[in-house]
């Protein structure tokens, strides 16, 4: 009897195959993705210190008393210094405008792929996807050569006679917009295509039989049906662009204020880890709504096919 009892108890705590399959990725992602955010929040309440690691401890345990010292100075600094506020606003503006541009360019492209012949679709998709597998650094670098004062674009425009002197494009916000749209366009096209290709063409035929114009049926049938694809694509562009560092660093100039760049400088140049952490916390708070929107649209997409 006893042995059977022990066996039963053991079976209860022994993970089943199912629990193991869920547990391994869950634990990994929890430990290396979710838990670190808690530490970021903790460090954002610390004070910068000349030590290794360069911040003060928040929790101290002296004489059986737990001391918690929360330092709100970092957050106070963020609200009092114009630099940080304008960097957040600059990032949001940059992300918003480039998302709209990506949508305007990407939607027709995704639509074009979705109505192409089946074999052609795979090739086109691959052509769109390949750049996303190539270093973003290299693609941005390619633009540095093209946009510089004595680069190809200026040489071409001068040859055409449109301008007589080279335009300053590199190290301006315009260059950052070009770089962002260029780098993130595939991330807009892929979810849009995945959505558009599932559409039932007979709906459009029915509409045109009933006398609807092409544009009217596109606007009233195709666009509403692709809502989830639009949300997923826009979020895939908007959220990472808010925190983008490489593109503003290489293509932008002194006028380009973006939060990813400021965070990088606080961390690597000033070695002020607590301020960098509080910058990250505020960025996360700004992005939490778009991230939830994205996750919900992804979940819907998952259920839609199941």
């Amino acid at each position: 009897m006893k042995i059977r009892k022990i066996k039963r108890a053991f079976n209860r705590i022994k993970p089943t195959g199912r629990q193991a399959v869920i547990g391994v990725p869950f634990l990994w992602l929890f430990l290396f993705f979710a838990l670190p955010f808690l530490i970021v929040i903790k460090i954002s309440f610390a004070e910068a210190d000349v030590a290794i690691p360069p911040y003060t401890e928040i929790f101290t345990f002296v004489e059986q008393k737990l001391d918690i010292v929360l330092n709100f100075a970092n957050y106070a600094l963020l609200t009092s210094d114009d630099l940080y506020i304008s960097a957040y606003l600059g990032s949001l503006k940059m992300a918003f405008i480039s998302t709209v541009l990506c949508l305007l360019i990407g939607y027709p492209m995704a639509y074009g792929i979705s109505i192409a012949r089946k074999e052609m679709q795979t090739v086109l998709l691959l052509l769109i996807m390949m750049p996303t597998w190539t270093a973003i650094l290299i693609r941005v670098y390619a633009w540095m050569g093209i946009l510089s004062n004595n680069g190809l674009l200026n040489a071409f425009l001068m040859w055409l006679g449109v301008i007589s002197e080279p335009l300053q494009i590199l190290n301006t916000n315009l260059a950052v917009y070009i770089g962002v749209v260029y780098s993130y366009l595939p991330f807009m096209i892929l979810p849009l295509y995945a959505n558009l290709v599932k559409h039932d063409q007979s709906l459009l035929e029915a509409a045109s039989d009933l006398g609807s114009s092409t544009f009217n049926s596109f606007w009233k049938i195709t666009v509403p049906l692709s809502k989830n694809g639009i949300i997923a694509g826009c979020m895939l562009v908007f959220i990472p662009v808010v925190g983008e560092f490489v593109i503003p660093e290489l293509l932008g100039g002194p006028e380009t204020l973006m939060i990813g760049k400021v965070l990088w400088q606080e961390f690597f140049n000033n070695r002020d880890w607590p301020v960098a952490s509080s910058l990250a916390v505020v960025m996360l708070l700004i992005l939490i709504v778009p991230i939830i929107l994205f996750n919900r649209s992804q979940a819907k997409e998952l259920e839609g096919r199941a």
Partner: protein, 296 residues
């Protein structure tokens, strides 16, 4: 039909927009002139010069090593996550799990990089591990965000799959893990390959995460390229960038080629099975099959 033509025009223009800068970069990597904007004839001297740059070469080897480990771990982890998301319909915390899997796709890299570094520092204080940051910490960072990409690619494939084949195997008494390794894995093999390729490429090109979690003496290729690029356009960088582009295009082509071949083989096998079944139908009268054969 006007809308159709407009979308095709945009498609062509968009593809030109995507590919022109890369083509220009490759052409200019063969420029003999040291001035990157002036054309001085064809030359391969920048490529030859790369081989002498030992610092760059060791960064290349380190990056390749990390990318290899990352692609293996990310495929294993991402496939498990995808399997959980698509096949296990209900369990406690599924929404949270789904969020954990998809959030790394969009999370700004500066946030992930900073938070992982702080985690490693805290772990070093509490547990004494990792003593110093380097290849292992970069590998952990890359595996975490690459597995999200793998999960998306693989779960798309898992959802398309005909569940009845797995169910049939299970009805015949196969254990779940046997079904998974003998039936599910071979059927999703093309997307596993695509996921591995993607992880390899993502790991190879990551700058931000690696900068945060690397330690002294573990500079990766993108970090090396970045510190050179910051100072402006250089012919050597053109050469290494072109080589990376070449490697990625070849890999992309191979993935496309093999997945197409696997798909064709599968279609042919299904076709053959249907024909054989139809032929058997003559020998053993079966009403349902006989009808199919008659209609053929």
């Amino acid at each position: 039909m006007r809308g159709f033509r407009f979308s095709n025009l945009m498609l062509v223009l968009g593809l030109i927009f995507i590919y022109a800068p890369m083509v220009i970069l490759v052409i200019y990597s063969f420029n003999a002139s040291k001035l990157v904007t002036v054309w001085g004839g064809w030359s391969v001297k920048w490529y030859v010069g790369l081989l002498d740059n030992t610092q760059l070469m060791s960064a290349v080897m380190r990056s390749l090593e990390i990318a290899l480990y990352t692609s293996i771990a990310a495929v294993a982890l991402g496939t498990m996550a995808a399997f959980v998301l698509t096949r296990i319909t209900r369990f406690k915390g599924k929404t949270f799990f789904g969020g954990l899997v998809t959030a790394p796709l969009v999370m700004p890299e500066v946030i992930t990089g900073l938070s992982l570094l702080l985690l490693f520092v805290a772990m070093a204080q509490l547990l004494g591990w990792p003593e110093e940051r380097g290849i292992v910490t970069i590998w952990i960072a890359h595996t975490t965000f690459c597995s999200a990409y793998v999960a998306v690619v693989v779960s798309a494939r898992l959802r398309e799959l005909d569940m009845s084949i797995e169910e049939a195997a299970m009805d015949l008494g196969a254990r779940p893990w046997k079904v998974f390794f003998l039936i599910t894995i071979p059927m999703i093999a093309p997307s596993l390959a695509a996921g591995a390729m993607m992880s390899f490429a993502l790991s190879l090109d990551d700058l931000v995460l690696a900068s945060f979690v690397s330690g002294p003496g573990s500079t990766t290729l993108p970090m090396e390229v970045f510190s050179a690029v910051r100072l402006g356009v250089k012919p050597e960088i053109n050469a290494i960038a072109s080589l990376i582009l070449l490697a990625v295009s070849i890999a992309t082509f191979l993935v496309w080629f093999f997945s197409r071949r696997a798909e064709n083989n599968r279609k042919r096998a299904i076709q053959q099975a249907i024909e054989e079944a139809a032929a058997d139908g003559w020998k053993q009268p079966d009403i349902r099959r006989a009808k199919v054969v008659e209609s053929v």
